[in-house]
Amino acid sequence: MTCCGFVARDGDAYIWGDGEQYLNGRPMTESIERVAASPGRLAAVATGHSSLCDRVRRLVAGLGLASLSGAIARLPAHLRQACAEERAHCRAIGARYEVDLACGLIGLCDSEMRGVVFAEAAGFEPREASAWLSPDVGGALPATAQEVLAVAQRQLQFVRARHYPGATGRTLTVARVGRTGIASRSVPLMIGDERAA
């Protein structure tokens, strides 16, 4: 389970995601980059099968200079197709397919910062949201990058308590999206005593 989310504010937005991958309920050694950005200053993060998350990254990067409206119009069909292919692949190899892909997208729409969530469980119908947390741990929404880290650590503690006790989150990528560009930083999600807490 990925610790990810976004918060769209007046002026800019933060979007974040950890880099942990799981195999048979255990964290893998390889990490994955989950925050994707397009040349059109859209940023997205996805949670679900790692192959589908990777597909989302490529889809978002391939949006080119498309606006948020254009992305919302195009992404659902692409996401449905990607999931259908993954489902067929799982069927072919006899693996179980879980409906759990969710994708958060932020960008400018009519000069306003907006966020949209596409969930596989809802047929990838775009749902507008000013904030999205996966898993949803509640609490105050972050207003700075340091607060984003605190929220991501709360999410990871939730994942460790409920799903994977050995989860470390690996690298947290935080991106800040504005009118003229996207900046991002990758930092360790938990260090030393933070894991024991």
């Binding site: 007046d10 002026g11 800019d12 409206s69 254009g70 919302i72 119009a73 400018l108 729409c109 009519d110 000069s111 306003e112 910062m113 907006r114 949209v116 119908e125 775009p126 749902r127 507008e128 949201a129 000013s130 700075t144 990058a145 340091q146 984003v148 880290l149 935080v174 800040r176 999206v177 504005g178 009118r179 003229t180 560009g181 996207i182 900046a183 991002s184 930083r185 930092v187 360790p188 260090i191 030393g192 005593d193």
Partner: protein, 162 residues
């Protein structure tokens, strides 16, 4: 010798420099090329007043440092054979644990600095949301809005009448 530290209390010394009265040590290591060409190495361990070492004697210091490391390892082996767990040298001091916590503190500082720099980077402010607030418009508004925009874009692309 390379020393990295965070100053906590600093005052001018009247000679054009500063006295660092309180500081926190971040990094201390022996380097082959000093930043200050006039730097000298004192062997404090061999005499009360110290002795200036020539550059050739720096190797002696490095060898001594390695021998200390080897002696620590021998001691750890003896203690382990006597039933003490690894890292326990009898007085409760665990150098590996201290090194790990030291690294953790340093990484936390670097992480905080990276996140602070993200807040400071200029990404261009977006316009304030227009009225009514987006929450009142609901999720369906954006979908309808997008469909209208895409339809308009396609009409324009195919030069169809509006």
């Amino acid at each position: 010798m390379s020393v990295g530290f965070d100053p906590i209390e600093v005052e001018p010394n009247g000679k054009g420099g500063y006295n660092f009265n309180k500081w926190e040590l971040l990094e201390l290591s022996i380097v082959s090329v000093p930043a200050n060409p006039g730097a000298t190495v004192f062997a404090r361990a061999f005499g009360k007043d110290g002795r200036v070492l020539a550059a050739a004697h720096a190797d002696t210091l490095v060898r001594a440092h390695r021998r200390i490391g080897a002696a620590r390892q021998d001691l750890a082996d003896v203690l382990q054979a006597a039933g003490h767990p690894p890292g326990d040298d009898g007085d409760g001091y665990d150098p590996e644990a201290e090194e790990l916590s030291f690294d953790a503190a340093r990484i936390k500082r670097a992480r905080a600095a990276a996140l602070l720099s993200l807040d400071c980077v200029h990404v261009g402010p977006a316009a304030k949301p227009s009225a009514p607030p987006r929450e009142l418009r609901g999720g369906s508004w954006l979908t309808a809005h997008v469909r209208e925009q895409e339809a308009a874009r396609l009409r324009k692309f195919w030069s169809l009448p509006v």
